[in-house]
Amino acid sequence: MQGYNTEISPGGHWSLELRRGTQLTLTDIAGGGNCGMLFYNPRNLLERYNAPDTLKCQHTFKLTAGHCLYSDMGRIFASVTADTFGWHDTVCGNANAQHVASKWGARDYQHHRNDWHQNGYDAFLVELAKYGLGAADMAANINWFSKVATDAEGNLCLTSPSPAGSSVTLRVEMDTLVLLHACPHPLSDATTYPRKAIGLGLATAAPVGEDDLCLNHCDENRRGFANNALYHLGA
């Protein structure tokens, strides 16, 4: 198969085990979207995306091109090889049903079909359950296309919605179970429920060259790639 393109409908969720060497491109089709994402190792579901290690290893609060997305075991699930937006959040988690109902009103599937107000927390619960995982396995997730900045006192602010067509490209560095949803960011103050589809494209990634942006981003990432090489020894 050459590649695959699809859309996650507004409020929708999706998961797939992606093989090492796959390239995943996410697109904020209409602008102002949000894409929640979590990673697990399909061979050991206790190994999962670790937001603190990802931030700490790269001395960053935001995610963008050049960054690697780390597991709790010192390995890299995926690296960010391209990004047209420049600042993505990984500390705010998901909105839940109460948040969504209080901001935009409760809507259910019985009455509103696909125009219901799904939330990121429940969307992840659905996908987690497919792999025998539950609420206790939900780690701090990534929110692509959501820029969350802080002031000097640490107050959080969701600013600068992503322009239509913004995209981010990930290269999968080890076999990874990827969960994602297209639900609103928990800090969204939109007046109506943001109904934003996320484009998703899969392809085969180019091999990692010696001049690779992510490999050379910092010494930490070079060591992260070395840990992955050890993991794949003999593979």
Binding site: C57, F61, Y70, R75, G93, T150, G154, L156, R223
Partner: protein, 217 residues
């Protein structure tokens, strides 16, 4: 926010010194208040909380910072669970700011942060692994070991979105006090980190003290 405690050490119903590299795991009942005391200064107390009734419900950094709209923890902060329930409130704090973004040191992340051959050094997540292995009666497993609080750590965010590990703002005798809003398990790794200039490469002991609710509630 600096807020001093009115509690007296002599009234504490429980006291235990926890050396660097050791863990503390115990139950604190709703209404009880505990203090984590930085005995010698610039130490990091890497802490996780669980609902004693259901350890799958536990401290959630994302729920806590989202609900308070701020990344730092101090007096007045309500610590929330992964089910968005209030678990504990910080009622006194002589340090002023605590980190919940930086997570805990681990053998595996040490290989990335410092050197590929630093993995054998002691680390907080190893202390937690020992705790869950040695104390099976608490019903914890690796899936419960998540994004924690680093009491006494200062991890400021820059305007450009950088994350910096600044010198500690703690000092000898500084403390943080929390009142439990539900029965909780407290799991602390007193950080053994020897690679971090924040503690001058010298991890030191902390003390854990518990007080009953004023009217025995």
């Amino acid at each position: 926010m600096i807020k001093e405690s009115q509690r007296h050490v002599d009234d504490a119903v429980f006291k235990q010194v926890v050396d660097a590299g050791d863990y503390y795991l115990g139950k604190v009942n709703a209404g009880q208040t505990f203090r984590i005391l930085d005995l010698e200064g610039n130490q990091a107390a890497d802490t996780l909380f669980f609902s004693a009734a259901n350890p799958a419900e536990r401290y959630s950094a994302t729920d806590t910072i989202r609900e308070q709209g701020n990344v730092y923890l101090t007096a007045g902060s309500v610590l929330r669970s992964n089910e968005n329930h209030p678990m504990l409130e910080i009622v006194a704090d002589t340090c002023g700011r605590h980190d919940t973004l930086g997570g805990a040191c681990a053998s595996e992340s040490n290989t990335v942060r410092y050197d590929l051959e630093k993995r054998c050094m002691h680390a907080c997540r190893d202390s937690w692994m020992l705790a869950i292995a040695e104390r099976p009666e608490f019903g914890l497993s690796k899936r419960d070991i998540t994004h924690n609080i680093n009491f006494f750590m200062n991890v400021p965010i820059t305007e450009e979105g950088g994350l910096t590990f600044a010198d500690g703002i703690s000092g000898a005798g500084k403390y943080v006090e929390l009142t439990a809003l539900m029965d909780v398990l407290v799991l602390i790794s007193n950080c053994p980190q020897l690679n971090n200039p924040c503690n001058a490469y010298n991890p030191t002991p902390i003390e854990f003290l518990v007080w009953d609710a004023p009217n025995g509630v």
